[in-house]
Symmetry: C2
Subunit: 202 residues, 2 copies
DNA sequence: AAGGCAGTTGAACGCTCATTCAAGTCGTGC
DNA sequence: GCACGACTTGAATGAGCGTTCAACTGCCTT
């Protein structure tokens, strides 16, 4: 970390702090302290604080596959289990931080009420790619799910369950709401599988 | 509005602005301008900005029943349709504001990363009461739903669908994600009803 | 050896923020 | 008619914010 170029240290520091305290509550001074840099260096690398955010959102987007999905899906082959393995990963982060650290993208999305277009588009892209990966899992599940099922719709619901679960759990400082939401999704997918396999429950 | 006591004008102004721009991005000056009051009056009524937030969250909580549920459920008797009527109400707000105005509670919950206890408890209480009303609808549905169904779990999932749908829709500036999430929930509840009524689909 | 330039330093700037306060207004009880 | 407390006024305060900049460092080129 210490031997990285200043620009990268700044982005990683901002990534960490934006996730922990949000964008608005993180000051330039906070980022400089965390990265061990000076104001001039930051403003040599980025025109404004918003450009730091843009770099962070882009780094986050690039990290979805190698940093999030790859470790979550290590040793998991079943495509439907992959969905729940990913949710379990978020649960683990909540658990490890007393329900404080959830999904930075979601926090920033609600924190900035009218974000400038480049920021909004990157937030949007982060969601779209996340949903895209889930949709691919559902496609892989093939005829285990009903043929007429709108898999994109379900993928959006999965992101929904994650973000909403994080929000409620962070608010209540309990994992109950996250677990309940995932349990609801599990029940739904189980019923979809039953329906696809002929319809006889049990 | 203009003839209300100053304290109330301030709370209503803050309610509006916190919903529109969030808590952190709303300045005391903004609230004073909106309410037509002076700094001294605000600090005569409230010790700090955070106490204004507390008053707003409490007003919001009191408003759940008369301001949100009552109009949403006007003319709706079917308990399961009540759930979707409430979601439709949120959809209407999103639609009327180009996906900008969602649920203030959710926004504030994610905006404040470590809120002081009284604030966190009021956010928590808002969610708990909302979920409680949904759970009561599901209870009213009686044996239309499976007897062994965890209705509280489903109620939490309903709030989840709303909040997650608002978040995604606000980010994409499209109602697609909200609609997809509600469609997923509808499909799930349909399948639960089928299962409770003997299990034969179609 | 000299010139140039990417990158660094940290003090300083202007602005906005939440909050304070001394001075004022008004209505009520005596 | 006067004293008192509740409420209002709006300028002032000080802290913190994002941002700027002139001076400096060290490396690469010629």
């Amino acid at each position: 970390m210490e031997d990285l170029p200043t620009r990268d240290r700044l982005v990683f520091a901002a990534l960490k702090l934006f996730g922990e305290k949000g964008y608005l509550s993180t000051s330039i001074q906070d980022i400089l302290r965390e990265a061990g840099a000076n104001a001039g260096s930051l403003y040599h690398a980025f025109p404004t604080k918003q450009d730091v955010l843009i770099a962070v959102l882009d780094l986050y987007r690039q990290g979805i596959e190698p940093m999030l999905l790859a470790p979550a899906w290590d040793g998991v082959d079943d495509p439907i289990e992959k969905v729940f393995a990913l949710l379990a990963r978020y649960r683990g982060m909540l658990e490890a931080t007393d329900c404080l650290y959830g999904c930075p993208i979601g926090s920033i999305a609600l924190e900035l009420h009218e974000p400038d277009p480049p920021v909004r588009e990157l937030l949007s892209l982060n969601f779209t790619q996340w949903v895209g990966h889930i949709e691919r899992c559902l496609d892989e599940a093939g005829d285990r799910l009903p043929a007429d099922l709108d898999r994109r719709m379900v993928a959006i619901l999965v992101l929904n369950v994650m973000e909403g679960g994080v929000m409620q759990s962070r608010t209540h400082r309990t994992l109950e709401a996250f677990d309940a939401s995932v349990a609801g999704l599990r029940d739904y997918l189980n019923r979809l599988e039953q329906a696809a396999s002929g319809g006889q429950p049990k």
